[in-house]
């Protein structure tokens, strides 16, 4: 007999271990209600400590001969959802896997109103949003140039909602291939030095540098591109929720820009309008033809 709980081998920490385990359980015919999945990150061990043991060691011979075809669509979905921070994801994934195979519900993934599928799709959506936000909101700071290679070196700090660092890696690797960079997060850090990605343990915020040398210029841009006549704070916050602000250099301007927006707009509206200037002498403008510029004169005579 094996216990799924209490044996560290069965604490699931990534997609690969889940997959191996799930394949075994499926083949041995352990129903979802009987399988216990423990996430390596959560400390719910006590909760399960007294639960019954889950399955037999000897695979059921009859079941084992059956080859279960798992769609690529499900595997992709499962891999995505495996990054989620919800410790229940492993058992949910197994339940869906079971239903797709032994449960005979081959078309289950198409039923977007099924409760399990809704939950899975909801989680997948959260992952994809988290990923998207990581691609968007990581801010590199230059820390120097490598003495040997001459390559520019950058560091960033980011706090993803889910375990997506490795998922996010290809984007950064393909885009910033020619620089050396590290992205530090509380879960895991990744480093690129030109030929290979490497991963190290997560670090606390203090280990990341703060205050990049270009932040001021970036804030100047942010301030100038904002249009005070069109304040729409909610639209902004739904795309860039407050939780991200502390790691975005430009976010410190939000309060100030918002507070002064209406005054700036009103000042623009009440300011005296300017009369059109007559057309200057310019060969190019003249080449545009008779009509061009005439409108001004017409208006002024009105």
């Amino acid at each position: 007999m094996e216990r799924a709980v209490g044996n560290s081998d069965f604490r699931i920490h990534d997609f690969a271990t889940w997959r191996t385990r799930a394949r075994f359980l499926l083949h041995t015919g352990v129903a979802p209600a009987e399988a216990i999945w423990e996430d390596s990150e959560s400390s719910e061990q006590d909760l399960f400590a007294n639960l019954a043991v889950t399955q037999t060691e000897q695979p059921d011979a009859a079941a084992d001969t059956q080859q279960w075809l798992i769609s690529a669509e499900f595997l992709r979905l499962a891999e995505t959802v495996s990054c989620h921070r919800d410790p229940m994801r492993w058992s949910l994934l197994y339940r869906v896997l079971w239903r797709l195979t032994r449960g005979g519900e081959k078309h289950l993934l198409k039923l977007s109103t099924d409760n399990d599928i809704r939950r899975l799709q909801g989680m997948a959506k959260q992952i994809s949003r988290d990923l998207h936000k990581m691609h968007a909101f990581v801010r590199f700071q230059k820390t120097g140039d490598c003495a040997e290679t001459g390559r520019e070196q950058f560091v960033a700090w980011f706090e993803p909602d889910h375990f997506i660092v490795r998922f996010a890696a290809p984007f950064f690797r393909k885009r910033f291939t020619s620089m050396d960079w590290s992205i530090l997060t509380p879960d895991e850090c990744m480093h690129w030095r030109g030929s290979k990605l490497s991963f190290t343990d997560g670090v606390p915020r203090e280990q990341a540098p703060s205050g990049g040398e270009l932040d001021d210029l970036w804030r100047t841009y942010y301030r100038s591109i904002f249009n005070p006549s069109r304040l729409k704070l909610q639209a902004m916050q739904s795309e860039m929720p407050k939780k991200y602000w502390k790691n975005l250099p430009e976010a410190e301007l939000i309060e100030e820009l918002t507070a002064e927006a209406n005054n700036r707009r009103d000042a623009m509206i009440t300011r005296q309008a300017v009369e059109p200037k007559p057309r200057p002498k310019n060969a190019y403008l003249e080449s545009l033809g008779e009509g061009a510029g005439a409108g001004v004169e017409d208006e002024r005579s009105l």
């Binding site: 100047t220 249009n227 430009e250 300017v274 200057p280």
Partner: protein
């Protein structure tokens, strides 16, 4: 003048251009170790300003000195703003520095017209040329071109830029005569035709290239011609054009010029405004309704005439209180209710409150089971909007509900809510405001601020 001051003037001068899309570029990266950056796919919004707009590109003018006198524009020659000018090297440097810090997807460069259209175009192109040829930059470049520039220069711009655009500004020559006296509708459309030509040629060159040499294992290289799309912008509310005229112009451009996107920009108060401009800016909700209508034209199979029909409440204008699809449905109640378990895709797309994604899901679902009230709830569609117009297995709307005189009133918000947060969009969707929609994007139901589930 230092870099910081120039940036503040020349970004301020560029902010009235609504376009910020960085999507739809030819896919490429620098994984081989050569070059800087990557592009392709949906594009990324790297930040949002408190006006709800996304910051995706470094959007600046090369100079805000301008010979023209477009009355809605802060940079017109009569305006009393402070003027500045970047050198091409300065813009190149800023773009690369911002890009390497992951602030931006690339550059959106435009310019006031100095000396002549060709002279200005040459300067703008020089920036793109340096980025591509000197620095092997593979990020996104959008160049604004001047319709009066020579065709060779427009072609050259297309060689370097992923997107080129010319602003049509106003839907009629009459409006241009009054508000942008140097501009000419015909010249603008001719230039758009030239760009279209370049894009089509580029596409077939790429196809031929792809056939000749298969992609190397070393990643996706930079293409020989970047241009892959054009877009334009129309100013709303400056001239007297009604929504029908604006949408007709947009439709004409979509059909004839391979436009990816028409942007609608409610003219907004500017410092140093012109005496010729109306003193009152149009309600922002008008712009929003135009975007919704635009979406219906492109992805829902509607015709302009259906959306701004003469029998609508507002003649040539869209109803400001309710979305254009709902307004259309209320004018065509005899076509409803629609049976969600039987109707074809086209009909489903016409149901108020059902977006492209929901329709997709319903079609999938009903292959396996009857669609019921509970399913609609779980699909998170607006039940209030959908229910009066549909039949599902366990719901049949009372006919008198559909015929109710007051049905419209149930949807129209009380007036004070109108200005409030109409730009709300699907917050859960990963994608960003103003993205030009790609087919795949729509499939994934990434919803832009200007679309929403209609």
């Amino acid at each position: 003048m230092d870099q910081d001051q120039k940036l503040s003037i020349l970004a301020d001068a560029a902010k009235y251009d609504a376009s910020c899309a960085s999507s739809g570029a030819k896919r490429r990266d620098s994984r081989s170790g050569a070059g800087v950056g990557s592009a392709g796919g949906a594009g990324i919004c790297h930040s949002y300003t408190p006006d709800g707009r996304c910051v995706s590109l470094l959007k600046v003018l090369l100079t805000n000195v301008c010979l023209y006198d477009c009355h809605y524009c802060i940079n017109r020659r009569s305006s009393e703003v402070q003027r500045a000018r970047f050198t091409p090297e300065e813009v190149v440097d800023l773009t690369l520095s911002f890009y390497k810090r992951n602030y931006i997807e690339g550059l959106f460069l435009s310019s006031g017209i100095v000396r002549s259209a060709d002279y200005t175009m040459e300067m703008v192109i020089e920036v793109a040329r340096q980025l591509r040829d000197v620095h092997d930059f593979r990020g996104y470049i959008h160049l604004k071109t001047i319709p009066e520039a020579s065709q060779e220069l427009i072609e050259l711009a297309g060689k370097y830029a992923d997107r080129i655009s010319i602003n049509i500004e106003l839907p009629s020559q009459e409006g241009l005569d009054r508000f942008a006296p140097e501009k000419n509708l015909e010249r603008t459309q001719d230039a758009m035709g030239g760009i279209r030509q370049r894009i089509v040629e580029g596409r077939s060159e790429r196809k031929a290239g792809r056939a000749a040499s298969t992609r190397t294992a070393r990643g996706r290289q930079a293409p020989a011609v970047y241009a892959n799309g054009q877009s334009t912008q129309m100013i709303v509310g400056a001239d007297r054009s009604d929504d029908a005229a604006i949408l007709q112009r947009a439709d004409h451009l979509y059909r004839g010029y391979e436009l990816r996107r028409v942007y609608y920009s409610a003219f907004s108060p500017i410092p140093s405004s012109s005496t010729i401009l109306p003193s009152k800016a149009p309600p922002l909700v008008r712009e929003h309704r135009l975007y919704q209508a635009d979406w219906l034209l492109r992805f829902y199979g509607f015709d302009v005439g259906e959306l701004t029909a003469a029998d609508s409440l507002d003649g040539g204008h869209l109803d400001l209180d309710i979305d254009p699809k709902l307004a259309w449905a209320l004018r065509h109640r005899q076509l409803f209710p629609i049976d969600l378990n039987r109707a074809d895709r086209e009909s489903l797309l016409r149901v108020p409150g059902l977006g492209v994604r929901s329709v997709q899901r319903i079609l999938q679902l009903r292959r396996w089971q009857a669609v019921r009230y509970e399913d609609l709830r779980k699909l998170r569609v607006s039940l209030e909007k959908v229910l009066p117009f549909v039949i599902v297995a366990d719901h049949h709307p009372a006919r008198q509900g559909l015929d109710d005189e007051n049905l419209r009133a149930r949807f129209a918000p009380p007036p004070e809510q109108l200005e409030f947060d109409f730009g709300r969009h699907n917050a859960a969707a990963g994608a960003a405001l103003h993205h030009a929609p790609q087919a795949t994007e729509l499939k994934q139901a990434r919803v832009s601020a200007h679309s929403g589930e209609l």
